[in-house]
């Protein structure tokens, strides 16, 4: 990656003057404040990226399409169709005719160029704030192999998203999930991994044994999950690159499940069921001795570390029904944080540390919600027959989860929603899907 020059100091000055706005504005610099929700998506124009080498045409078209889909998919942006364009971008280097883009109410203009040398691919782009008549940030170039073209498209979209929202991006990321086929009484499950948008699905296990609730390691290279391959639920770690797996806990007479990584990537926490009682334990993934973190006759499960590694949020029915609690990472006294009507489970700490996502079950409906870490400002984002298992996008602004439909033909699939409760949308997978876990932003 290298900078293209063309640094417009004016654009940098504008950055400092940006103010939060609940919706895209037609005057003033581009800015979207995600937390407040966007009523009117920001219109952008993205002319098909220029092919700088003879054989780059089809990749240029595909990359343009993915960048556009990433941005539109957030619900924060709206693509202006190309047939509305007045001027065409004939060259990446040519000056922009702002008046022509203003006339079609394009607030952002994204131009790009793609070149191919053998199997090497270079993608560069520029972002313009049309109404300010200035480039927004520097042009950027990403290089890699032609095989990785989708990742480069996601990187362009992440940069655009980041510049306009002030938030980190999340498009260049992956999701590990459980791929499902078959009816409710004959369901086959296997682990799968895909790009965040459902592209490039690869299967990591076969469906000979039930697999549940995978979780990425902090660097995205490994996955923890539960498998019944021995006939009993046991926790496993799988290397995403080699697809090799190993069991982590296999004490006879016990069941282990709900494994999650600590931010250090070495410690894991999980639930161990012995004699009908389920508690939370910790161990070192290299094989260190297990330590018990909770010791109660109730069910303690679904642990999730705070991003600083100092606390664990988990669910317990010690009060008589499932509720959320926070305890120190080494165990000890737990504080209950959920107090609304109904039952609360599957808490997941946001990567930003500010919120906890959860599943809520109340009055025959399931919800995905978020609350602050002290339990305040609870907000339900979804409602359906069965929603569960939230996972956070790397920027902590979007949540993916499982939705299962009702009745004999009930089927699980993946959905995403932003933390304002807007932009609920299905994530397309080749088969049914459940238990998504979102990776960190790829390096």
């Amino acid at each position: 990656m290298r900078f293209l020059g063309m640094v417009l100091s004016a654009a940098m000055a504008l950055c400092a003057a940006w103010t939060p706005a609940a919706q895209a504005q037609s005057e003033g610099p581009l800015r979207i404040e995600i937390t407040e929700g966007v009523i009117e998506p920001l219109p952008f124009a993205l002319p098909v990226f220029e092919a700088e080498t003879g054989d780059a045409g089809s990749l240029a078209a595909q990359i343009s399409q993915v960048v556009s889909a990433d941005l539109s998919g957030t619900g924060l942006f709206r693509e202006i169709p190309a047939d509305a364009f007045i001027s065409q971008i004939t060259s990446f280097a040519a000056p922009v005719q702002y008046a022509d883009w203003k006339a079609i109410n394009a607030q952002a203009l994204i131009t790009g160029a793609v070149s191919v040398q053998g199997n090497q691919l270079a993608v560069k782009f520029r972002l313009y704030d049309v109404f300010s008549g200035a480039e927004m940030g520097d042009g950027l170039q990403f290089t890699g192999t032609t095989e990785g073209w989708r990742r480069m498209a996601h990187k362009v979209a992440d940069a655009v998203y980041s510049r306009i929202t002030g938030e980190g991006g999340y498009f260049d990321s992956r999701v590990v999930y459980v791929s499902e086929t078959g009816g409710k009484d004959a369901r086959q499950k296997r682990l799968a991994i895909m790009d965040y948008d459902g592209a490039n699905v690869q299967y990591l296990t076969d469906s000979s044994a039930i697999v549940l609730a995978p979780r990425f390691s902090p660097d995205g290279s490994r996955v923890l999950y539960t498998s019944y391959e021995t006939g009993f639920p046991r926790i496993y770690v799988l290397d995403v690159g080699s697809v090799e797996r190993r069991v982590l806990e296999s004490q006879e007479g016990t069941m282990s499940f709900a494994p999650r990584f600590a931010p250090d990537g070495q410690t894991i926490v999980f639930s161990l069921s012995q004699g009908g009682n389920t508690d939370i334990w910790a161990m070192n993934i290299a094989g260190g001795g297990a330590a018990r973190l909770t010791s109660a006759p109730s069910i303690e499960t679904a642990p999730s570390f705070s991003p600083d590694g100092r606390q664990i949020v988990f669910e317990s029915d010690r009060s008589g029904s499932q509720q959320l609690y926070i305890m120190p990472a080494g165990g000890g006294e737990a504080q209950r944080i959920s107090f609304g009507p109904g039952r609360y489970g599957t808490p997941v700490w946001s990567p930003r540390g500010d919120l906890i996502a959860f599943t809520k079950q109340n009055a025959g409906r399931f919800h995905i919600g978020v609350m602050r870490t002290d339990g305040s400002e609870e907000r339900l984002l979804t409602a359906s027959f069965l929603d569960e298992g939230p996972t956070w996008a790397p920027n902590g602004r979007v949540i993916m989860f499982t939705r299962e439909t009702q009745g004999e033909g009930g089927r699980s699939s993946l959905y995403s929603v932003d933390i304002s409760g807007r932009n609920l949308r299905p994530v397309r997978t080749p088969e049914g899907g459940s238990d998504p876990s979102w990776s960190p932003l790829l390096k």
Partner: protein, 171 residues
């Protein structure tokens, strides 16, 4: 009866059950099979008191639970008393007790809930004299429903613990 013969009967019972119902042992509670009590005893059939088919169908291989509960009901106790007696007189068999939950609950909680249910059955059987080393437990949470509608008539049958016989001692 020799142990080998019992294994053959167990396998025959499994094969028979597999023909009639997709669930593992085909029994949906305490309903009697083809040869009910009072008829001629056909070895290995539900009328043969020492057969797995008798255990699965005549006694009943499962007990049901209330929503979010793992307490054994009065009906459940009657079934488990029968299971305990059968296990006490057929000592070559071991059993895996499978705990299950209905779909109204989060996945991992339901694994823990199924573990509670399976353990409640195990403890009851042990309290009736069945050796603990003959009984293991596993929870499937909500992963293996036998009824697939989304209302209480199905949920009630899915909230279950099933005692699955296996031949041979665990040592």
């Amino acid at each position: 009866m020799t142990r080998k013969a019992k294994i053959i009967l167990l396998v025959a019972g499994l094969a028979l059950a597999a023909c009639t119902n997709p669930d593992r042992f085909g029994a949906d509670g305490t309903a009697g099979g083809a040869g009910g009590p009072g008829g001629a005893i056909v070895p290995g059939s539900p009328s043969d008191p020492n057969s797995p088919a008798y255990f699965n169908q005549t006694i009943g291989d499962r007990v049901l639970f209330a929503v979010d509960q793992s307490t054994i009901t009065d009906e459940g106790r009657a079934v488990l008393d029968g299971q305990a007696n059968w296990l006490l007189s057929n000592t070559d068999f071991t059993a895996i007790i499978e705990g299950h939950a209905d779909e109204q609950g989060t996945r991992e909680y339901n694994v823990a809930l199924g573990a509670r249910r399976a353990n409640a059955v195990r403890e009851y059987l042990v309290s009736k004299g069945v050796a603990g080393n003959r009984l293991s437990t596993v929870s499937y949470g909500k992963e293996r429903p036998i009824e697939i509608c989304s209302n209480e008539s199905c949920y009630a049958k899915n909230r279950r613990a099933v005692t699955v016989l296996a031949a041979g001692l665990t040592g």
